[in-house]
Amino acid sequence: MSKKRDEIEEEEKKIIQPSVAMHRGFMMDSGKSKLEHPRRELWKWLFSYLVGYKWKFLSFLILLLIGTLITSVSPIISAGIIDYGIVAKDGFYIISMSTIYFSLLLFMAITTYLAMYGMGKISQKITFKIRNDLFYKLQDMSLSYFDKRSSGDIMSITTNDVNQLNQLVGGQFVSIISSIVGLVLTIFIMFFLNPYLALLSLIIFPIFFFFTYLFRKVAMGLFKESRKTIGSVTSSIQENIAGAKVVQAYGQEKKASTEFDKANLANYNAMLKIRKFMATIFPLISLVTTVLTAGILLAGGFAVLGNVSIFGITVTVGVLSAFISILSQFFRPFMTLMQIQEMIASALAASDRIYKLLEEKGEIPDIENPKRLENVVGEIRFDSVNFGYTLENGQKMNLKSDSPQIETKVTRISDQSELAGLADNPMMKQMMKRAMDFMKALPEPYSSYMVKNVMLMPQNVRQKLFMSLMGQDPSEAPKLIDTILAEFNYAVPDTENANIHPELQTSFKRTKSKTRKEEPPLIPALPPEAILQMSKFLEKNLKSKPTLQSSSSEMGEGSGMMGGGMPQMSPQSMLRMLATVKIEKEVYNQIPKIVREALDEEKKIIQHEQSKGYVLKNMDLDIPPGKTMAIVGETGAGKTTITKLISRFYDVNDGEITLDNIDIREISKKDLRNLIGLVPQDAFLFTGTIKENLLYAFENPTPEEEKKMVEVSKFLGLHNFIEALHKKYDTKLKENASNISIGQRQLIAFARALITDPKILILDEATSSVDPYTETLIQDALDKARKGRTTIIIAHRLSTIKNADNIIVLSADKKGIIEQGTHESLIELNGKYKRLLEMQHRDIEFKN
């Protein structure tokens, strides 16, 4: 829990220094990175939090303005006191005006205090709300969100970014307002006092602006560098401390030190540069201010001495004195103004990240009217399930985004524009247009038939058609079409072919599910000239640079080459396309070697991407109610995936999973999960008492539920262990539950799941070994628990497996079930299962 403490300390530190914002402003995070959302949207979002406090905020703002006004006006008063009081030797004037001056000051103090306090409070409230919203949202997030991000990232958003906003709305906002208003008022006052001197003073503006510009440009770069270096330092420390045991075990302390030293030195240098810069620029500014002051003194001084009146106004001592005071303070608001840009930029960056998180899709939402479950029997079925993690929920995998792949929706396409609209790559559009034109040029009935059905055809049919028809004369095409279609047992209706062979199908069936795609469709074959032209271009590109550029800005001279107005296409996407397209052997041999190698490489990558995509392919599974199914298979074969799918932490990409014959997508998640008791591999227990952990499912556990807890503990053989502890059920668990053994942790997780009396029990056996005694306990517990429940076990222990009603063996290569049956039947199969068992028996045979 020390982490939490440090966080809070850190946060407190940041809060306590809103006025140091001025200094810290220099260090703020403001990369010039682009925002993901338009600024207006972000501001709108930020302001939405302000809505409830509109009036309060305004009133505080007014107070602040009053305070600023008074501060700005005070030089006038003091000028007056000097001129009309002291110089004029009017004692009464001095006293009375001084009193007024002081009381005004007091008044200003009070208003400013109230304003700052009030606005500070509001900003805290806003931060509070934002934090709440963030947390709320995080609770709602789907597993896939957390899978993709490190907890560090998420933590950073909820702490650092929220703090950033906190600073902005709190201290920084106040200083911005008072600076701007103060500055404007001061300028007016200067002119009021003496326009001549004021004009003179304003010469300083361009100089100040210049400094601002210089500062921004240089400092930002330096700060960016220092952020990078400090990041390396931190991670170097972190890695080597976390892995201290390894470092020591291999005697690599020196190496670790050297690594750190390098990072430290780099950071030192970066910081040094910053300091040097600061050390140069601030005195410089000071110098300028002083020179200006001297100039004013010069001009004003002579005016006073000579009693010269300029523009009809004389310069008095008081005025001069006022100017001097003003000037000495002049730069401060300027400094603040300098940082406004950065402050806003970093605040926007922070809000951007927060907003992004808040916008994320939550868990798969329940459908509108989920079906209710009654008398659940617990029969689970998988039907032609396809699933892969890298794919978005319910979507299919795309290759790299700039690959010219057509998303084929299985809809009827009636006109050219729709078809062309499908392709999001201009080149594909071209090709599709050509294809369309071709089809339209066909004689009837081929023309309308083709147009209607081309997208409905199975992928291979279409491909073959395109390949053969490319470059052909449309009038000759029908024969070809007939031949090819006949190959696949299709025919165009109302043609000779169809009449002669009535058995041929004429329409293309729509497939079952909504977005059923077969393999990612390959592009219809390219004409050889195109292929060769592209290869030439790639060759040139590859020879000049070792790797292909992926940005289309590299196109340069290439674009003109593609006769026929092939539009801009980056080398990378061109390569990708060539790798996906079928290339005839003769054409292939003409492609330069260097390009061929690149193509092979690309094909490998595609394969890798594709194979990584799916974890389960076309899987069917039947789990009868009340029975136990054991899942076995090597790492990555999909065992845990199945359990996640059943609990609907992910939705299948294809096919369906049913519970009692109802598609689980039609049931509310809460209902579904209430039925499921999950005991994961590494059970996560909270730092709370054992009791709190066991009763986690219940908000305010009733005495009956507490009794149930004890019952379940006894049932599982956990009770005795708990009773033996000093504080029994009230024993507090440390972080990661390190004060109890792994076996006991598992039992507690088990009990926790069983308390809810789930109809479906999912158990992901932990692989870490426990001592035989605890193992027996867990085993017995499992045997007892699975009676009467549909149980799914990802099994590692032979005993578990042997007693299962059904065993399935998964394979990562085949992405599905390779063997299935009872223990005995699988042994007879003489397959992988038997092999795995034999491994063990070899162990046992040693005994005899």
Binding site: A115, M116, T767
Partner: protein, 374 residues
């Protein structure tokens, strides 16, 4: 899973509120400071006006003095405000300094004595003599443990959780100092060896693997920086990791922990085995480190290891029957004490506890499980 989102939200809200209240308090304080400074300065100015004015009228003071004073006072504003901040920063710095000093001032508990001997090529004989040890001063994990492993022999350690198995393993590379008794390698107390040499001769494969965010090759070669590529591959082959590595798009240069290179528990363990092997240590220690590896792979690893392990002293914490049976020496621990020592045949005859344990393990493996099929 338990759909307790609302409960968590409530908890969070409470904590958040507390934080809010604390922040508001500090805002209050801060808002006070700046106006206060202004008031103080304002006060000083009117005093100047007042007294200065009187003295001027009386002719005792000149105007320039007054004006100068006022300028000075006005410019005091900024420094005064900074002073307040400095106070705060000082307090924090003070606390930070305490923490930093704590670390800097702590002396390393285990370091080389001035007469430390170099261990050039260890033979690998390990002796524990009446060793007692506890992580905390009150509680002894190991009590009077004594045993001897001749060089090149294999020791299997058995015992329940918490009996001290992992502790023994932590003591040999001198990660901790024994409280009583001594550990000797090749007849010399390990405290007399140069620490780095000692550890270089010991290859430790722990239960939980820690890998660095570097390439696979760098991780395997971690203990031996000048390893040649062939050595790395050799180690990977023995650990049955080579094929897997070659299936990755970047092969040995794949960065561990980079997205897309998900190493499973088993792969991590195998990597740490390769890492230990490349150093070609004289003493190899396995802390139940094939628990995440499936039986098939473990078998292959063991076979490969057997060829190297001929001259290596090996200590292995395990529950696999075959390993135990083949060990030259078996050590049984119960609650920190040695309750059995000998090889399988000796123990079967003489040690009742061993027979019981062995029988249990055998039964488990045969019919009730306890071994891993995956």
């Amino acid at each position: 899973m338990f759909s307790t989102q609302d409960k968590e939200r409530q908890k969070f809200q409470i904590n958040n509120e507390r934080f809010y209240k604390a922040s508001v308090d500090s805002v209050k304080f801060n808002s006070l400071y700046m106006p206060l400074v202004y008031v103080v300065i304002g006060f000083m100015i009117i005093i100047t006006f007042f007294l200065g004015g009187i003295w001027f009228i009386e002719g005792k003071m000149t105007l320039n003095v007054i004006i100068t004073l006022i300028s000075y006072i006005a410019s005091l504003g900024f420094p005064l405000m900074m002073l307040g901040q400095i106070m705060l920063i000082y307090v924090q710095a003070d606390a930070a300094l305490t923490r930093v000093r704590e670390i800097l001032d702590s002396a390393p508990e285990i370091e080389d004595s001035s007469e430390a001997i170099h261990m050039n090529s260890a033979k690998g004989e390990i002796i524990f003599e009446n060793v007692s040890f506890g992580y905390t001063s009150e509680h002894r994990i190991l009590k009077d443990v004594s045993f001897k492993i001749p060089e090149g022999k294999k020791l299997a350690i058995l015992g329940t959780t918490g009996s001290g198995k992992s502790t023994i393993i932590n003591l040999i590379p001198r990660f901790y100092e024994v409280n009583e008794g001594s550990i000797k390698i090749d007849g010399i107390d390990i405290r007399n060896y140069v620490l780095k040499d000692l550890r270089r001769n010991i290859g430790l494969v722990s239960q939980e693997t820690y890998l660095f965010n570097k390439s696979i090759a760098d991780n395997i070669a971690y203990g031996k920086e000048d390893s040649k590529y062939e050595e790395i591959v050799e180690a990977a082959k023995i650990a049955e990791l080579h094929d897997f590595i070659m299936s990755l798009p970047k092969g040995y240069d794949s960065i561990v922990g980079e997205r897309g290179t998900r190493l499973s528990g088993g792969q991590k363990q195998r990597l740490s085995i390769a890492r230990a092997l490349i150093v070609k240590p004289r003493i190899l220690i396995f802390d139940d480190s094939t628990s995440s590896v499936d039986v098939e792979t473990e078998f292959k690893i063991q076979e490969a290891l057997m060829s190297i392990m001929k001259e290596t002293t090996t200590i292995i914490i395990t529950q696999r029957i075959s390993t135990i049976r083949n060990a030259d020496l078996i050590l049984i621990l119960d609650r920190g004490r040695v309750v059995g020592l000998g090889n399988h045949e000796e123990l079967i005859e003489s040690n009742v506890l061993y027979t019981q344990i062995f029988e249990t393990l055998y039964q488990k493996q045969k019919s009730k499980g306890g071994e891993y099929i995956e």
